[in-house]
């Protein structure tokens, strides 16, 4: 393999495809989809401009606290529905059931998970003001979580879902681009001119790298626009998990793309016309689509045994492992093992793909039989 030749082929694929109008349109559409979905998400989450809360008051200072809170609510731009609760234990149950947003009971605030940041100052004010006669013994307020939940679990599921869709659409689009490119060179017969100056392996390597680089570029653009718009509109909290997810998607895209692209190139090399290519790559499309749909089922139940198992097995791991972002309790070794296994499988498929490609790419006409593609080398 000639490194300079690989570089030239890579550059050609990158530049020629990059300035193709179809590519620009594709990127434009995907960016538009990201922007629109972020916008919709932010509109949905900001719909209630005046938040309303239902709060129960119990304990010795209940009446005073209720009055102060009711008076303070309009100032804090909150719609407050308050009530007196005589049975503190029953009140806590109401909180758990979601019928009350909070129960204030003698310096303690009972909530399911967390006090809404808009409500908290009002309750604190009521707590303190109700103790005014006893200025010396002012008690602070403590929050009691009755049903704490993972603070980001919703966001994590969303991230896993988006990661899944991006991985799938990027991978299938760019693998098909590789297949189309391989067949294009056969159909136009430019392959013969090319192979008089570069080896089939250099050509294939350059093609996969060049198209893959374009795929990564599009992925980066989509992520940047999505994250930028998401954090600007407040639809997305930029946590460490978000960045982890971005890293995971990029890593799996690279590994998965190399794996599938080699397979697509090998299959495409056996046919001579684009129409034949469509049906030839059908089994490979399935090999991407089945784990993709399995991944949707997995997002709802990311810790199920079958998800854990598939998330390790190549090539399913490409689309199933990222789902475990949503689970959050993957052991450290799981992604490492998944990537390791996938890397081994990728090396295998690259070697096999290159062999089939090399044996098939100069055989024109009807589809090259698999036996010939595998055994009958140019050096036969």
């Amino acid at each position: 393999m000639n490194r300079n030749a690989v570089r030239l082929v890579t550059r050609r694929e990158f530049v020629e495809r990059g300035r193709d109008r179809g590519f620009a349109i594709g990127v434009g559409i995907s960016l538009a989809i990201v922007l629109v979905s972020v916008l919709i998400a932010s509109l949905v989450s900001n719909k209630n401009k005046t938040p309303s809360f239902t709060v129960g008051f119990a304990g010795t200072r209940a009446v005073a606290e209720q009055q102060i809170a009711d008076r303070g609510a309009p100032v804090a731009k909150i719609k407050l529905t308050s009530s007196l609760v005589t049975d503190a234990v029953g009140g806590q149950q109401l909180v758990k059931d979601g019928k009350l947003d909070a129960l204030v009971d003698d310096g303690q605030v009972f909530v399911k998970d967390a006090v809404d940041p808009k409500l908290a100052p009002l309750l604190a004010e009521a707590n303190l003001a109700s103790q005014v006669p006893n200025l010396d013994q002012l008690q602070g307020q403590a929050t009691v979580q009755l049903a704490p939940k993972d603070p980001d679990s919703g966001q994590r599921k969303t991230i896993a879902l988006i990661a899944e869709i991006m991985l799938f659409s990027q991978m299938i689009a760019y693998c098909l681009a590789v297949a189309t490119g391989v067949v294009e060179e056969k159909t136009s017969r430019v392959i013969e001119v090319l192979l008089s100056s570069v080896s089939p392996r250099s050509l294939l390597t350059g093609k996969i790298i060049g198209i893959g680089a374009l795929g990564l570029l599009q992925l980066a653009a989509t992520v940047l626009v999505g994250l930028g718009a998401g954090s600007a509109t407040g639809a997305l909290h930029m946590t460490v998990q978000v960045w982890q997810a971005v890293g995971i998607v990029a890593l799996w895209f690279v590994v998965g793309y190399i794996f599938y692209a080699s397979a697509y190139a090998a299959v495409a090399a056996r046919v001579s016309r684009q129409e034949e290519m469509q049906s030839a790559v059908q089994p490979l499309n399935l090999l991407i689509m089945v784990p993709y749909f399995a991944a949707f089922a997995a997002i709802g139940n990311p810790d199920a045994t079958w998800v854990r198992a598939l998330s390790l097995i190549p090539p399913f791991s490409v689309l199933i492992q990222p789902v475990r972002i949503a689970g959050g309790d993957a052991s450290w070794w799981e992604p490492v093992a998944a990537i390791g296994l996938m890397a081994v499988a990728t090396v295998g498929i690259v070697l096999a793909g290159a062999r089939v490609y090399e044996n098939s790419v100069l055989r024109f006409g009807s589809k090259v039989p698999l036996r010939v593609a595998w055994t009958a080398g140019r050096k036969a």
Partner: protein, 314 residues
């Protein structure tokens, strides 16, 4: 010097090449002729390393060619091929760089050949937007753009108009004059005869004749004479050395290889006045037909399409 020695290639049970051997000297224009499926394309593909032979070697300047050497060769395949959506100039620059030219040199060479082959004003157009004739010119430019040390062209003249033919012939002569061995195949035998220093005739995967046209003529078994005389038909039937005679306005005689043409002249003059006495030079087309006929049927049953692995288009 480009030497092909003992090239053999089989596709399954079909024998495509059965020991092809010939030499193209520096500065020589070598015409490679043969029937369809005789093995021309297979030979050229092997020369360029696009195909691996089962046996035999290709040498350049005495050394077996490797991929680095082959990158200095220029090739125009029988099936024309360029990226249809790539711009003409970009395409030529890309191919020049693939053959090892620097970016700057590739740019200069591409411009030179686009000017030389009159496609410079289409430099920014996609190849698919060009007429077939212009695509052919770009294809030629692609074979020439890296100053090849050896030129191998498969049917370069097919599809060119007479101006294009002259233009290409001039370019090939010029390359040869610079010391480049040039091999091209063609079915236009008059053109080959006019242009080439040496000729190789391939038939069913074997070289059945090689040499200059004169050498090929000298090696033929029979000679043909035209004799202008008014003597009655049948006059030459019993003249020694005459194999056959055709009596028309003038007489056309086929002589055996060892016949004495002066004896024939004497015999004719003895019968009457002789207005014309011309040895007829066989055309390449005749030499070709004879060479092929001589070797017809001496074969192992390999079929006519043996040279073509593609099956569909023989």
């Amino acid at each position: 010097m480009l030497e092909l020695e003992g090239l053999r290639k089989r596709y399954g049970d079909r024998v495509a090449l059965d020991g092809v051997t010939f030499t193209v000297r520096p500065g020589e224009l070598y015409g490679f002729v043969g029937t369809n499926g005789a093995g021309k394309t297979t030979t050229m593909r092997i020369t360029l390393g696009v195909l691996e032979p089962d046996a035999g070697t290709v040498r350049y300047q005495g050394k077996p060619v490797d991929s680095a050497t082959r990158r200095t060769f220029g090739y125009m395949p029988e099936e024309r091929g360029l990226y249809p959506k790539m711009r003409v100039g970009d395409q030529l620059r890309y191919l020049a760089e693939l053959h090892g030219l620097s970016r700057g040199d590739a740019d200069k060479a591409a411009t030179y050949w686009m000017e030389r082959l009159s496609v410079i004003e289409r430099a920014g157009d996609r190849v698919e937007a060009l007429s077939l004739g212009n695509q052919q010119r770009v294809q030629l430019a692609a074979a020439l753009v890296h100053h090849p040390a050896v030129l191998v062209l498969d049917e370069p003249f097919s599809g060119l108009d007479p101006v294009g033919v002259d233009n290409l012939a001039e370019v090939l002569r010029e390359r040869a004059a610079e010391g480049v061995p040039v091999v091209f195949s063609s079915h236009q035998l008059e053109l080959v005869e006019r242009l080439c220093d040496s000729i190789g005739i391939i038939y069913r995967g074997r070289m059945v004749a090689t040499g200059t046209v004169d050498e090929l003529r000298a090696s033929r078994a029979e000679r043909v004479l035209r004799v202008g005389t008014d003597v009655a038909a049948g006059w030459a039937d019993r003249v020694p050395g005459v194999v056959s005679a055709d009596y028309g306005k003038s007489t056309t005689l086929v002589l055996a290889a060892d016949a004495d043409d002066q004896a024939v002249l004497d015999a004719a003059r003895a019968l009457g006045p002789v207005r014309e006495f011309t040895p007829l030079r066989a055309s390449l087309a005749e030499l070709f037909r004879e060479a092929v006929a001589d070797h017809d049927g001496d074969e192992d049953g390999s079929n006519q399409d043996a040279a073509d692995p593609r099956g569909a288009d023989a």
